[in-house]
């Protein structure tokens, strides 16, 4: 695809005091891609995502989405333009039933605008969306309080909240962490389905095996800098990446 990229990140930099959390990262993202962002702990993956989604203000650099500069916009405006994200630490409203947790994103002006100025019955929409991510209807799990749901369902809930915003780009921050192999295996097809629907996805992951199955491209960060960018297999062959993950031999 040679058209203008959906998302363009140019020299993004963030320093917290003296620490360079993210240092001059640049990449582009085309529509329909699944970009994996990987790297050791503290390499700046989550900070990069926070910079794109507006939760952290950039020290310098620019984020351009659909040709529009969205650097340092407040998070809610970025969501309205079409970038939705999940959080690594899920923090649902525990006392509410799972489907009621969906009401807040469904209340979003973006959802209203996309639905032609009407909200409709949010409870019904919430149940439909939850079914899509695996809240089986027959066992009433969507009606259970979030506090009694296992981690796997809470992660699905987080995913459903992002899907409900009908974003152009979805950023999934460590969706697979804390999940069993079986749980991950049941979420992967949901993401594959989203890709088939033409969604563009950025995934931060430590579970590389699962990520490489679905990612079309991977970038590797280390100490806030991009050290590799390309197809998963090739990237992992690079010496610099091996050094970052396994340590140098010296």
């Amino acid at each position: 695809m040679s058209e203008t990229p959906l998302l363009e990140v140019k020299g993004l930099t963030k320093s917290f005091g003296g620490v360079q959390a993210v240092n001059g990262i640049s990449f582009t993202l085309n529509k329909g891609d699944l970009l994996g962002i990987i790297g050791p702990n503290g390499s700046g993956k989550t900070t990069t995502v926070n910079l794109i989604s507006g939760f952290v203000k950039a020290t310098s650099g620019r984020v351009i989405f659909k040709g529009r500069d969205i650097t340092n916009m407040p998070p809610y405006k970025i969501v309205r333009l079409g970038i939705a994200r999940t959080f690594q630490m899920v923090k649902p409203f525990y006392q509410l039933p799972a489907f009621k947790n969906m009401i807040i994103p469904l209340y979003s002006p973006r959802v209203k605008a996309l639905a032609g100025g009407k909200y409709g019955d949010r409870d019904a929409v919430a149940l439909d969306l939850l079914e899509e991510v695996g809240f089986e209807r027959d066992n009433q799990v969507a009606y259970k309080a979030a506090s009694v749901l296992p981690q796997g369902y809470l992660k699905r809930l987080e995913l459903a909240k992002a899907i409900s915003l009908q974003p152009d780009i979805m950023i999934l921050d460590e969706l697979f962490s804390g999940l069993s192999l079986a749980e991950v295996a049941s979420i992967v097809p949901i993401i594959e389905k989203l890709l088939l629907e033409g969604k563009t996805i950025i995934m931060i992951e430590h579970r590389l095996k699962e990520l490489f199955r679905i990612a079309s491209r991977v970038i590797v960060l280390n100490f806030g800098e991009k050290i590799a960018d390309g197809v998963a297999k090739e990237v992992m062959e690079s010496d610099e990446v091996k050094k970052a993950y396994l340590g140098s031999e010296e």
């Binding site: 809610y76 939705a84 409203f93």
Partner: protein, 334 residues
């Protein structure tokens, strides 16, 4: 054998929550009683009270409104220590409009509720972005500051205040406007907070990042909640101005900030019913203890400590639980 207490919903609660509520008078009564009985009491009470206790009842309604206003803010994640700001702003707005412009109380009261609410909202706008204790500190300071400003600049009658203001045509009208406002606020805001709109407000309290992440401008929602709460407080202040025919510096006193919080704590936060119940307990108690003079504060303090320590959920939630659930001892599974 180890045992634990378990709580189980009463059968009648389960039945009355569904279409089966219509199955018998008993179910319907179970469902309607907690709503109808308090409303009937609110409406009939003034008829059986003497002159003095009618005055106390007016205070109860005013503090119930201030407590509801506090609860709206706290459920939206803003802990206010300055309900006196809302109360005083409403009181001065209606006092000034009536004293200097001769506008009738029928107009000054609604205008004061809206304009007073708007002024308070604008005054607190800069601190709305602050979280937690910073918002509280500023709300505590502003009414005390305004008191000194009025004293120093001698505006609006200075330390003397404005007296001889118009009253509403009859004391029954005063009474029932306040009672109606209290009932409307109690049930109206309960409904608001359980709607999807209210869910967004409580969402801001629990996890504001998650709400922002849903594409919702949390400051706009906080502004709305702040305006609603301050308009309720300003309305209470405007009413009292015309009841006492006077407005002066005491309307910014700490009492109007602290007693509503105490009422919510005793009654139970997060339900509005608790706020009203708390006002019904604390205001008459405070009147009854008036004879004790300075010692009143001690009794009052002990009473509060007992509740905060012994029943942190508040009386309302305790009663509500007993009403809908029973407890029994069950064996603990091995």
């Amino acid at each position: 054998m180890k045992k634990r207490k378990e709580r189980i919903d009463r059968g009648i609660k389960v039945r009355s929550e569904d279409i089966f509520a219509l199955s018998s008078w008993r179910e319907m009564l179970y469902f309607a009683a907690p709503r109808v009985i308090p409303v009937a009491v609110f409406i009939l009470l003034p008829l059986v009270l003497g002159d003095y206790w009618q005055r106390v009842y007016l205070s109860v309604a005013v503090f119930a409104l201030l407590a509801i206003s506090w609860d709206i803010l706290s459920q939206s994640g803003m802990i206010s220590l300055g309900q006196a700001l809302f109360f005083g702003m409403g009181a001065y707005c209606s006092g000034v409009l009536n004293h200097y412009f001769g506008i009738s109380p029928f107009l000054t009261i609604p205008i004061a509720a809206v304009v007073g609410g708007a002024i308070c909202t604008v005054m607190l706008l800069p601190v709305l972005r602050l979280r937690g204790v910073y918002f509280s500190m500023v709300t505590l300071i502003i009414p005390l500051m305004l008191e000194r400003v009025i004293e120093a600049t001698k505006i609006f009658g200075g330390t003397e205040g404005l007296s001889g203001l118009d009253v509403l045509p009859s004391k029954w009208l005063e009474m029932y406007i306040l009672v109606a406002a209290m009932i409307a606020a109690l049930f109206g805001f309960r409904r608001m907070m359980t709607s999807d709109y209210g869910l967004v407000l409580t969402g801001i309290k629990d996890n504001d990042r998650s709400v922002m992440n849903a594409g919702i401008n949390i400051y706009w929602f906080k502004i709305q909640a702040l305006f609603i709460a301050s308009a309720v407080g300003a309305f209470a202040g405007a009413m009292m101005t015309h009841v006492y025919r006077f407005v002066g510096m005491p309307v910014f006193a700490l009492d109007y900030s602290i007693l509503p919080i105490a009422a919510v704590m005793v009654g139970g936060p997060g339900s509005f019913a608790g706020a009203v119940l708390g006002a019904f307990i604390l205001v008459p108690l405070s009147e009854a203890l008036r004879a004790l003079g300075g010692l009143r504060i001690v009794f009052y303090g002990v009473f509060l400590v007992v509740f905060v320590v012994g029943m942190p959920e508040g009386i309302f939630h305790f009663i509500a639980r007993k009403y809908s659930q029973f407890e029994r001892w069950a064996e603990v599974d091995k």
